[in-house]
Subunit: 118 residues, 2 copies
DNA sequence: TCAACATATCAACATTTCATAAAATAATGA
DNA sequence: TCATTATTTTATGAAATGTTGATATGTTGA
């Protein structure tokens, strides 16, 4: 019996060549930040474009201030949130433009990896 | 001086209400699987729709067989890969339909969280 | 300047993930 | 049945990540 041979299906025209597709550092940080349920819940708190302080986020999620601060920092580093200081308070909000960019990069990356129309 | 008040910007019509948006278990597994550079590199090996065995993946990435098998399992669990057995060999390939679904769910989720046109 | 408030940072510990090696399981042909 | 091949599973130690509590830093008004 002949062993099955691994199949290489050529990429159809229009899909470009095999990747070259690699995720940039930005999209990688984005994925890392998003791959935590707590941080997803955190992100959801900002829905509708509102700004929140660290303390409020901590209260609403029922976690410690320090934990909230650190997780918010990861979301900021991952390009999901941005922040500004106003006096003693730091306000975080969603960075929609950056999110759109990372999402587009992820989409392009996955499309480059995936055969079309599975 | 009055402390700044946290701003709640109402969601414009057409964006639906505040989320309700939560990621399903599928999209969460998807993100987790993708949030590893080694697993990204693994996924890239399958570009163009080819099928590969565990052993081949291990060789090409220069990792151990057991490590490859476990990482492939995570990619499969995350809906990025699917597999079939043919005799002694198990062939993995990208599950484009599942990837598209998770990507769409992620997009919808993030759009639900994000104010439009930042 | 100082105390109060808000946050960021640090260090330690807890938990999870990662990679390895061995063992177990699945499939095959002699 | 058995040896070989391919993969999955298991157990373990190391590494990474998550959480906590304390400390450091930044801002403010008295």
């Amino acid at each position: 019996m002949v062993e099955p041979v691994e199949k290489a299906v050529p990429a159809p025209g229009g899909c470009g060549t095999a990747p070259a597709a690699q995720l940039g550092a930005g999209a990688r940080e984005f994925l890392k930040a998003l791959a935590s349920e707590q941080r997803q819940q955190m992100l959801e708190l900002f829905a509708g474009g509102i700004e929140l302080t660290v303390g409020t986020v901590a209260e609403r999620l029922g976690v410690g201030q320090s934990n909230a601060s650190q997780q918010l920092a990861l979301l900021r580093r991952g390009g999901l949130l941005t922040s500004r200081r106003d006096g003693k308070q730091v306000f975080y909000r969603i960075d929609s433009a950056a999110v759109d960019r990372s999402l587009a990069e992820l989409r392009d990356y996955l499309h480059a990896c995936c055969p079309p129309g599975d």
